[in-house]
């Protein structure tokens, strides 16, 4: 029997197992334990949550390998970690630690202003952010086995997450309704690889699992993204910047399961303590936005 590891189907397969779940940003093993107990389907190990990266400024890099290793030791669920856009050596180091997914993330300071990592070269799968279908399919073309719409990380404002998800789903609907002879020009317009666009047209959805991220702070936010059509959610600052992280994490997990059941959502949303304060994106200067990073 011949075993084949790290094929694209195997990489994509793990993301399929994460669907209907919540992936939580954690900065310590203690956070990771809280996240696992609350029912997270995976954790994202990083040095500072996006809200703190915004506040502190400076260059945001890959986390200390020691911290990532400790988190891997602490939990039995998959562990993800972030590398800077284009920083393939950070990705090599993270892969070496045994993480299950690498996030080539705009939340960290980009290491390359022109190019992303060629992700097919790695054994470990990658997740990447997108604001629209063209960006998503460029990342998949480079080897990403999972996509997350970017939203605006560290704000607690869901408006950009909604905008990016609606943009992607709207483009897919347009693609499905256009005659096949218009697809190549559409590929040119949105900068997407033609073959992946044809595959998306055939499937009626993105060819890999698509989560939402960036600004989800409440169970209602999570259920909103699910009802819009994403496969699951990432919650970053929304949990550990809230008044009662364990309770909020637990509620967001339940809300993703019962996303289309308002009666359950009403029950789940009760008495969760303070949500993260958040930043209103409409009052945010353009240069402070992270979502524009990615080429």
């Amino acid at each position: 029997m011949e075993e084949k590891k790290s094929t694209f189907a195997v990489k994509k397969g793990l993301a399929q197992m994460l669907k209907g779940g919540v992936i939580m940003d954690v900065v310590t093993p203690e956070h990771a334990r809280i996240a696992e107990e609350a029912g997270a389907c995976a954790v994202m190990a990083l040095e500072r949550v996006p809200a703190d990266i915004r506040k502190d400024g400076g260059v945001a890099r890959m986390s200390d390998p020691d911290m990532i290793a400790e988190i891997i030791e602490t939990v039995s669920i998959p562990v993800m970690a972030k590398a800077r856009i284009g920083h393939f050596v950070e990705a090599q180091i993270i892969q070496e630690l045994g993480v299950d997914y690498i996030d080539e993330s705009e939340v960290l300071t980009p290491a390359d202003n022109d190019y992303h990592i060629y992700k097919h070269d790695f054994d470990v799968p990658f997740v990447c952010g997108c604001r629209n279908l063209g960006e998503a399919l460029r990342r998949i073309g480079e080897g990403a086995a999972m996509i997350r719409t970017k939203g605006e990380a560290g704000t607690g404002d869901v408006v950009e997450a909604v905008y990016h998800a609606r943009t992607v789903f709207g483009e897919i609907r347009r693609l499905q309704n256009m005659p096949v002879d218009e697809v190549m020009t559409f590929a040119k317009e949105i900068g997407a690889p033609f073959e992946l666009l044809m595959e998306t047209r055939e499937l009626g959805r993105m060819p890999v699992v698509n989560f939402a991220a960036g600004g989800i702070a409440t169970p209602a936010d999570a259920a909103l993204m699910m009802q819009l059509g994403v496969d699951g959610v990432f919650v970053g600052s929304g949990i550990f910047k809230s008044g009662d992280p364990a309770k909020r994490a637990d509620a967001i997990v339940k809300a993703v399961t019962h996303y289309d059941n308002p009666e359950m959502l009403a029950e789940i949303s009760r008495n969760l303590g303070e949500a993260m304060v958040g930043i209103n994106i409409s009052s945010m200067p353009e240069e402070d936005k992270l979502a524009g990073r990615g080429w």
Binding site: M1, E2, E3, K4, K5, S6, T7, A9, V10, G13, L14, Q16, M17, L18, K19, G20, G21, E36, E37, A38, G39, A40, C41, A42, S76, I77, P78, Q95, G98, V99, D100, Y101, D123, V124, P125, V253, K254, V256, T257, H258, N261
Partner: protein, 201 residues
């Protein structure tokens, strides 16, 4: 024994939809002409002929089964209905996963979680599934995906190993009308395991 498609028309099979790859199972069942339902609350078990517990994270699903009072109703359902667990679902059906977590403890099997290692050790392979048929003929191999997969490290009582790797490690087992696979037939287009499960209903 595998049966022709049309015998599945009258069945209604639930897929536990707390978290994980439940949509993939529903697609496979629909191909076979079976009526399906997503199960998130105990009352949704009422009119089902069988249940599939999909792949996903067993700790997440186990916790949500406790939170939504599903553990006991599914145990009772399993006493006289077919249940199939794939990957995380197999862990939840087991008696012991060598770790403290909520389990249904319905099958006389124990499992080792993440037995092959982390994601970089996940793999796909062709499995000999001739044992699914009782005629002794060799059949076309089944293309199986092992994603951070468990192995079934022991079977006891009425449980028996169904499919093993060449090195002897058990990756599918059955115990009466209960079925566990450590791999993911729902990620292939091959409906043979789904048909086999429906033959247990």
């Amino acid at each position: 024994m595998l049966r022709p498609y049309n015998v599945f028309n009258h069945m209604k099979i639930g897929v536990l939809a707390l978290q994980g790859a439940f949509a993939e199972h529903i697609v496979m069942l629909s191909k076979l002409g079976v009526e399906t339902a997503e199960v998130r609350l105990p009352a949704q078990l009422d009119d089902l002929d069988g249940l599939i517990i999909p792949g996903g994270e067993s700790t997440t699903m186990g916790k949500l089964m406790v939170d939504f009072d599903l553990l006991e109703p599914i145990r009772e359902f399993g006493l006289n209905h077919a249940i199939w667990g794939t990957c995380a679902g197999a862990i939840l059906l087991s008696k012991d996963a060598h770790r403290e977590q909520p389990l249904l403890s319905l099958m006389n099997i124990t499992v080792q979680r993440n037995a092959f290692g982390r994601q970089k050790d996940s793999f796909e392979a062709a499995l000999d599934v001739s044992r699914l048929y009782q005629d002794g003929d060799t059949r076309e191999a089944f293309h199986a995906f092992f994603i951070r997969a468990p192995i079934i490290d022991s079977v006891s009582g009425n449980a028996k190993a169904l499919i093993s790797l060449p090195d002897g490690r058990i990756v599918a087992a059955e115990d009466g009308h209960l079925l566990a696979t450590s791999f993911h037939p729902e990620l292939t287009g091959d409906t043979r395991f789904h048909e086999y499960f429906l033959s247990l209903v």
